[in-house]
């Protein structure tokens, strides 16, 4: 194991670490109370059923304790009274980048979003603090009946599709942070793909935090109707502030019979962000839900994407990469709930801990007794870079009955001194050698990401590894 320099050098995330002066027409102020919820409802002109939903959620949030009996004590450092829960400049999302306010447009240009849209995306939504600034979907998709709008527009304009599923995959009271999101949510995507339609190019949302002391609470609901297919990608960044920032999203996916839904995340939060996200999908008969997740950055990430396999032969998959640098804790994993016969789930998780970084895998697999022919495969591999790096694995696999097949493998490894010597003898600097070794470790998972993202991923990993050796 490498035991040289222990402190991880602070990485200049040159791409994401910048911010523009704030100019908010609407600011809910600091702290959270029923008045905050009413302020948000008024600004967004929410229908009554949403207002009611939010107020109930706030009560649930207040009644639930922090889950520190199993999760990290660092959660106690979140001060809900100094966070601002809603910030926007009051403009509506536009369909043209030319109409987006200059500083916001520049932000997304620096992050490469319009360029990616031109290159390979079928639609983009770009959210800046609480609201989307830009939202567009290719015309032909719109003609085919694809809906791709933000959540506010979704619940107002498409209530008949939105409402039956909203809060059904992840109920308000699922956990303290899903309740918080339900009370103050704003932004996020609502997507509906009609029966039989296979969307060939991905849709993408980009979530950008620009303001300090802020909480971003986007809410995403994606419904793939029978036999349809969709790949959705989300990216996120924030500038590095001295104060903590909270990002607490709720993402609900619904894959109807025979549908295939793939949700890809590349997160690159700055190290002051608490990222506490609830993500779950329902897969109906013979449907497939895949979460492909890469967690880099943040102070604390708690994220366990799940799939409820509700219909016969449904499939669920979570593929995740987590990289925890000094001052960071990636507490990630997967939940696979088998609720029908012959359902199949697969979890592959790889984590890298650098410096004092800590990676935790938490898995839950549930196969009840009355089912038959269910299968689960779980693999979790951890790579420790420095002697002060930490990893923990908590797999909970509950299988009842004897007509199922489950398999679980876990490993912890290190970049050996002999491997580094070999790579360096070929002319690679110590940092380059380490980053090649780490990229090798996650290589089979990186391939699951679309080309445009896998290149970005490799670069991000290289940046993170630069500080790991000295």
């Amino acid at each position: 194991m490498y035991t040289g320099t222990q402190e991880a050098i602070d990485i200049d995330r040159s791409k994401g670490d910048f911010s523009y002066p704030e100019s908010h027409k609407f600011d809910a102020g600091v702290g959270l109370s029923p008045a905050t919820v009413d302020y948000i409802c008024d600004v967004k002109n929410d229908p009554d059923w949403v207002r009611e939903f939010r107020h109930k959620a706030l009560k649930t949030f207040e009644s639930k304790p922090m889950p520190t009996h199993w999760a990290t004590k660092d959660l106690e450092n979140i001060d809900f009274d100094i966070i601002r829960y809603y910030l926007s400049d009051g403009t509506k999302p536009t369909r043209s980048w030319d109409e987006v306010p200059d500083d916001i447009k520049e932000t997304f240009e620096r992050l490469g979003i319009p360029q990616q849209e031109r290159a390979f995306l079928a639609g983009v939504e770009a959210q800046y603090d609480s609201e989307a600034a830009y939202s567009n979907v290719k015309e032909e998709l719109e003609k085919d009946g694809v809906i791709f709008v933000n959540s506010t527009e979704g619940l107002k304009e498409h209530e008949e599709i939105f409402r039956p599923w909203f809060g059904k995959v992840i109920p308000t009271g699922d956990n303290k942070f899903s309740a918080l999101n339900s009370a103050v949510f704003s932004g996020g995507s609502f997507i509906y793909v009609p029966k039989g339609l296979k969307v060939r190019h991905p849709l993408q949302a980009y979530f950008r935090i620009n303001s300090e002391n802020f909480g971003q609470f986007e809410r995403t609901l994606i419904i793939c109707d029978e036999g349809s297919e969709l790949t959705y990608m989300e990216g996120c960044t924030a500038p590095k502030f001295e104060t903590t920032t909270l990002h607490s999203a709720v993402v609900e996916l619904v894959a109807m019979k025979d549908a295939k839904l793939q949700y890809i995340t590349v997160q690159n939060w700055s190290s002051n962000v608490f990222n506490l996200v609830t993500k779950r999908g329902i897969a109906h008969e013979n449907a497939e839900v895949r979460w492909i997740d890469c967690n880099i950055g943040s102070r604390l990430t708690m994220k366990y994407p799940g799939v409820v396999m509700k219909g016969r032969k449904a499939r669920g998959e979570v593929i995740s990469i987590a990289l925890a640098n000094s001052g960071q804790h990636q507490d990630t994993g997967a939940k696979m709930i088998h609720a029908a016969d012959e359902t199949t789930s697969n979890v592959v998780s790889k984590s890298i801990s650098v410096g004092e970084g800590r990676a935790t895998y938490r898995g839950q697999v549930h196969i009840p007794k009355h089912l038959k022919g269910c299968r689960n495969n779980t693999e979790c591999d951890a790579l420790l870079i420095n002697s002060s790096s930490r990893t923990d694995t908590y797999p909970a696999i509950t299988v009842r009955g004897n007509q199922h097949a489950t398999q679980h493998e876990a490993s912890v490894s290190q970049v050996s001194a002999e491997m580094l010597f070999y790579l360096q003898q070929r002319g690679l600097s110590e940092g380059a050698a380490m980053s090649l070794a780490v990229n090798g470790f996650v290589n089979d998972l990186v391939r699951e990401f679309p080309m445009e993202y896998s290149v970005e991923l490799k670069r991000l990993i290289e940046l993170e590894m630069e500080g790991s050796v000295g």
């Binding site: 050996s416 001194a417 002999e418 491997m419 010597f421 070999y422 790579l423 360096q424 003898q425 070929r426 002319g427 690679l428 600097s429 110590e430 380059a432 050698a433 090649l436 070794a437 990229n439 090798g440 470790f441 996650v442 290589n443 089979d444």
Partner: protein
Amino acid sequence: MSLVVKDLHAAIDGTEILKGLSLEVPKGEVHAIMGPNGSGKSTLSKVLAGHDDYEVTGGSVTMDGADLLELEIDERSRAGLFLAFQYPAEVPGVTMANFIRAARQARMPEGEELEAVSYYKDLYAKMDQLGIDRKFTGRAVNEGFSGGEKKRNEVLQMMMLDPVYCIMDETDSGLDIDALKVVADGVNSMRSPGRGFLVITHYQRLLDYIEPDHVHVLAAGQIVRSGGKELALELEARGYDFLKEEVVVAG
């Protein structure tokens, strides 16, 4: 211009392994080092490459006049020193093609990108020459390779990186006779007035195919005899034991 080792002393965990080793490998020559197990052959190759486990306690090493011991491991490599490992490490998930490409890229000036088409052309030509199946470009470095496949890949890397001084540590071990010939042909094709070789081996067999200009015998951390290629044959005939006696007499 040569690789010059002068009175080199080196220790691992406080135990001295090299005890005043001196050697000069000029460009254009092939020098063989032979010696019994435990004589310090592998230590010499690792010390020259800069392995952290070994502490140089005395002496000097220069490469074309520059102090080699001052340089980091990777700097020595980029300055032209190549070590073909006896036991090369596995690098899971990193393909041969990407590995060699990264090593070549490390030799490029900042901001310049390796040109992929000519790189692959060069790589395939050298793989063909060494009889390495092209599917190896997509395999993880040394993972699941047989002993012979590992050695061929070491020579492939040596050919691709175009070093000035090549140290080959027991490259013959684990090779059958056909593979040995192919590897030797590869090495011979690299012999040139601008390149020096230090071939470390336990057996004379390799030297039938890579004909050395000089042979040195290493015993107990020192060069105890040097001579022409006929010295290798003498060792083969008489074994290493007679040398031990000579060391005792000399001491």
